[in-house]
């Protein structure tokens, strides 16, 4: 019973982090048709900037986290406007650009902070006992924060005019342009929103993980796994796949070995691409 509860909660926390990352990757592809390999860099930057704002700049952890999310969103807008937009038509160059940007960020972090791991104190210190199982409050915070952010994103995309405009761009850029939606601006907006979500993921997980320049690699890989599994460009597919992959990962690491999680994920993705390249909910079924 206690094991079951632990798997349930750990799986939910992992799924939440994966979902925050995957939704961003799916959005950027859906709206901007860009495969963003720099998404892990936004995650990592979120954690490091929180540390900078909170510790040397003494803003406090909560305010520091908020400032970090905004900064990452601003960096994402600059990245999209200055580096991606001018070369948007050249698919392969854009891939290399997102890679190169991610590695430039990584090297910058190593230069400034060194390769040594940092730790960030829990935003929600302490723990609670649920049915006799002791659970760190921070892990609950991960679940709550990611669920809240995803619900807000949902409301934004499906209930507001701006959100609907972004989805229109995903469906048909030319049509959106013709009815007066600033398509180019939509690309930047989506990059900012997605980067903010990635930063949030990096920030809430930081206290229960370690902060290193490479911390974004594993979630980036998992996000791609999920997005392919769920169908490239499909938000619903990404959310569903996040839960599946998150729980599968939690199960494998509890029952077997944590090292095998990535390997299993890779095998699953490889098989999905071969059998059904469009994933669970491919672009042909539904967009964004």
């Amino acid at each position: 019973m206690r094991t079951l509860l632990t798997i349930l909660l750990f799986g939910l926390a992992t799924s939440g982090i994966y979902a925050l990352m995957a939704v961003g990757v799916a959005l950027i592809y859906g709206v901007g048709r860009i495969i963003n390999f720099a998404h892990g860099a936004f995650y990592t930057l979120g954690a490091y900037l929180t540390y900078v704002y909170a510790a040397p700049l003494r803003l406090g952890w909560w305010l520091g986290a908020a400032a970090a999310i905004l900064t990452v969103a601003a960096i994402a807008i600059a990245f999209e406007r200055l580096l991606i937009n001018p070369i948007r038509d050249r698919e392969i160059i854009v891939w290399i650009m997102t890679f190169a940007f991610a590695f430039a960020v990584r090297e910058l972090l190593i230069l400034v902070f060194g390769a040594r791991p940092y730790s960030i104190p829990a935003f929600a210190p302490g723990s609670v006992s649920i049915l006799g199982q002791i659970i760190a409050l921070q892990r609950l915070l991960v679940v709550v924060a990611s669920a809240l952010a995803l619900v807000l994103l949902w409301v934004f995309l499906y209930r507001t005019r701006t959100g609907k405009a972004l989805r229109a761009v995903a469906l048909n850029p030319t049509g959106a342009y013709l009815v007066g939606i600033p398509v180019s601006w939509a690309h930047a907006a989506v990059m900012a929103i997605s980067a903010g979500l990635a930063a949030l993921a990096g920030i809430v997980i930081a206290p229960i993980a370690i902060v290193t320049p490479d911390m974004g690699l594993e979630p980036l890989l998992m996000a791609f796994t999920i997005v392919i599994f769920g169908g490239i460009g499909s938000l619903k597919g990404s959310l569903l796949a996040s839960l599946i992959v998150g729980y599968a990962g939690a199960l494998v690491s509890f029952l077997w070995a944590p090292e095998l999680v990535t390997f299993m994920a890779l095998v699953v993705v490889f098989s999905v691409i071969l059998v059904r390249p469009t994933g669970l909910f491919g672009l042909s079924v539904e967009r964004a």
Binding site: A100, E107, F270, I273
Partner: protein, 323 residues
Amino acid sequence: MAGSASRDTSSPRVNEARQYLPLLALPVLGLLGWFGGQPLTITLIYGTTWAAYAVGYDMFSGFSGRVNLGYAMFPATAAYATAVLSARFNWPVALSLPAGIAAALLLAALVGALTLRIKGIYFALSTSIVPLALFQITHVFGKFFGGEEGIWGVPPVFSDPRYDLLVLLGLLGISVAFSLWYVRSKAGLVLRAIQGSDLTAQALGVDTFRFLFVSLLCSAAIGGAAGAYLTHFQMLVAPEILQIVTTLQIITFAQIGGPGTILGPAVGGLVLVFLNEQMRAWADLRLFAYFVVLVVLLRFSPEGLLAPAARGLARLLRGGRER
């Protein structure tokens, strides 16, 4: 273009021969490496190896339009195979090297059989996964593949690195010559047709899969040979070769050199490795500067710096004839 018009009158055979002229630069590099001192020899060894990787990558991806985002799997597999056989089972290098290349070919056949029917982003992503999975395997079976440490104590072929350079330059020469011939042969024509449109090629009765498959095997053999040989020079293989950054480097060399030109990627590999070595004095700043330069280059000269030059050279060598 009076000059080129007069060249057109020369026989096609002569024109075809001209494209191999840049290979004459290789003996020059050999001489430089032989007399230029140990640091230059070693820089050239790495430059030649990476140039061979870039050529191997380009002869498939530069012509078929399928980006092999996991190209490093070929040099890595060959490197691990030859390292395991020679260091763990004491095979002589003369046997372990071909076995390494065979291992890369086997992997290429397997991956090709599974992935060559898909294209675009799906092909790129599925190939990118293979080296990542292999990376995990080297760690899960850490006892055998050395895990994070890699495999040490791989026997060298020569004690003097200058001989290694000559071998690698020879390998690069063969790779470039073969690739130049290959992409102008019927197979290359089919590859380009496939890049234009798979469907059109198939409608014309071409078995696109077979051509892609053979091209992928050739591409794997080139990368495998260079990777396996470098392992003996370094006397070790480390799992970093399986990380995505290895393939990214190769694609960068090809992209900056001029994809789809064979010669361009070779020059790109040599020049960029040389530049990177010259920046060694910058220590920690080096990699950061490298990626910043790359970002700026991609932004302001997406076609690469060498590509226009390489195209001009290629046109000159082909005698001004348009493809």
